[in-house]
């Protein structure tokens, strides 16, 4: 029996509102997902009952807050199958996690070393490496994945004995392509490179197992997986986290300080300077619990069904160009020749359909596709088939209204 999202809708009250007198159709989930009541309740509960700074005072509230905070680390470790909870570093999002690695590995890079990324990266997994290359004299190289994400044998040439870092997204935020991670990571490891996977677009949809992936670092954001904004995770293998130079210093991350020297704390605290985002951590753990309580394969199959349905309805329309894969994507990214995506977006918005038009923080990928931007409808587990059809209907209306006769 097909998955029925109607059982999830009551958990997301924000979805049952009107937008300009139309039922809100929220299809901008790749930008951020909505949050279930359990996440909202966990944050409320923390402030109502447990609020105190963590790891500090020996008092009742601080003990409770610290327990919940460290329990959350455990929850997230289980969620991605990390071997130890000390391998989970709290960050404010995927962006900060990637920057933490880019700054933390700087001391190991020499002129002429190579940093390899793919052509499908979000700016968050591009600019930090490019800037690291500028600072160190390393060379940034780009593996030219096609929009289908297929592996080509000649790509192995990009992995050389100078490749020190390989960073790749698991799923493209702009077009929804899944990258050939397994084979890319194998090549990177053969060259002894550090490997980082940007999981920002994967965590909401795919069960993640960092042990099977076997990457050195895995980065993601809470807000794209039904959790709050301002919290994210850097997972790292022990040896990989150990070599990172802390890119922020201050309180919490130290063991002993004199005016002339500082002894850093152990992992994970060594990489977590300052008072952390405690409510975010607690909300993120609640989001993991929400997802873990679902049949993840059924949710994923449903999200694929929605995207495939939209693809199959729209690709028949001669004047729509679709950049997303036909199968196994959770979003549909498209453009219409001679109609500006902002005009399409404006009409969809006027009908209560929330999507995203733009370059999706991926200018080089847009250049590769030969477009300035795309219109992206991205799905989450709570989206219905009616919503997928509404997107198609309203888009076709918009094209009708905007076409020059």
């Amino acid at each position: 029996m097909a998955f029925d999202p109607s059982s999830l809708r009551p958990l997301f009250p924000i979805l049952s509102q009107q937008a300009y007198d139309h039922p809100l159709t929220y299809l901008d989930n790749a930008a951020t997902t909505q949050k279930p009541l359990s996440v909202l309740d966990a944050i409320q509960h923390y402030y109502r009952h447990d609020n105190a700074n963590v790891h500090r005072g020996a008092h009742c509230l601080s003990d409770r807050a610290t327990n919940r905070f460290e329990q959350a680390r455990n929850t997230v470790a289980h969620f991605i199958n990390a071997p130890e909870q000390s391998h989970i570093i709290w960050t404010k999002g995927a962006t900060e996690a990637i920057n933490m690695v880019a700054f933390g590995l700087e001391h190991l890079l020499e002129e002429g070393d190579e940093i390899l990324i793919t052509s499908l990266e979000h700016h968050a997994n591009l600019v930090p490496w490019q800037q690291l290359a500028f600072r160190t004299g390393a060379r940034l190289r780009v593996l030219p994945l096609t929009s289908k994400g297929d592996w080509a044998p000649e790509f192995s040439r990009y992995f050389t004995d100078r490749t020190r870092i390989f960073a790749a997204t698991q799923i493209s935020n702009a077009i929804g392509t899944t990258t050939p991670l397994k084979i890319m990571l194998e090549h990177a490891k053969q060259q002894g490179a550090f490997t980082l996977v940007d999981g920002a677009q994967a965590v909401a949809h795919y069960p993640i197992d960092v042990r099977t992936l076997d990457c050195d670092f895995y980065a993601f954001s809470g807000h794209k997986m039904y959790g709050p904004t301002g919290i994210g995770v850097l997972y790292g293998k022990n040896h990989a986290l150990e070599v990172l130079m802390p890119y922020q210093t201050g309180g919490e991350m130290v063991r002993h300080v004199s005016h002339h020297a500082t002894e850093f704390n152990v992992l994970p605290y060594r990489l977590e300077a300052g008072t952390p985002n405690i409510e975010g951590v607690i909300g993120l753990a609640a989001a993991c619990d929400f997802l873990s309580a679902q049949d993840r394969n059924a949710l994923l199959a449903w999200e694929h069904t929605l995207a495939e349905h939209v693809y199959s309805r729209l690709h028949k329309e001669g004047d729509i160009e679709i950049y997303s894969p036909e199968k196994c994507a959770t979003l549909v990214s498209l453009s219409v020749p001679n109609i500006h995506i902002l005009d399409l977006n404006a009409y969809l918005d006027s009908q209560g359909v929330a999507v995203r038009a733009g370059s999706h923080c991926a200018h080089p990928l847009m250049a590769q596709l030969g477009v300035a931007g795309t219109l992206r409808a991205s799905f989450a587990c709570y989206n219905t088939m009616e919503e997928a059809n509404r997107f198609c209907d309203v888009l076709l209306e918009a094209i009708d209204l905007l076409s020059d006769e």
């Binding site: 007198d21 500006h340 009409y347 006027s350 009908q351 905007l402």
Partner: protein
């Protein structure tokens, strides 16, 4: 020389936009207005005439004859062309001093456009407004 505002009278434009009762109606009114904007030629759509800060590409050409200003503009987005028709109707044929004394933002809000424009695009509109008031 073509009139840069086509056949539209400012009062009509104002009435059309003010009659809109929903986002959808404003959308449709702007599409209709966009059709009255004469398009610029490729030679006119050069980098120098481009306005920075707009999410869609916008070109603006200002000329002055006998102390009054004339404007030509274009955009790659249709709704922006409709917005340009509305904005230019406010300033076409006026002196620079008159234009500089206008509160363009408020006047656009009165045309139902403030609520309509997305924040990044309204930044674009602000960039157009300040360009219009520049010497």
């Amino acid at each position: 020389m073509t009139d840069s505002l086509g056949q539209q009278k400012p009062v009509n434009i104002k009435a059309q936009l003010q009659a809109c009762r929903s986002k959808e109606e404003t959308f449709k009114a702007l599409v209709t207005l966009s059709k009255t904007l004469p398009r610029l030629s490729a030679e006119e759509k050069i980098e120098d005439n481009k306005i920075k800060g707009c999410e869609s590409a916008v070109w603006l050409i200002t000329t002055e004859t006998n102390g009054v200003r004339h404007f030509k503009a274009d955009s790659d987005a249709k709704l922006m062309r409709g917005v340009l028709v509305a904005i230019l109707s406010l300033v076409e044929g006026k002196t620079l001093t008159d234009i500089q004394q206008m509160d363009l933002k408020t006047e656009l809000a009165e045309l139902n456009l403030a609520s309509y424009l997305t924040s990044s695009r309204s930044n674009g509109v602000l960039a157009i407004c300040s360009q219009l008031q520049r010497t």
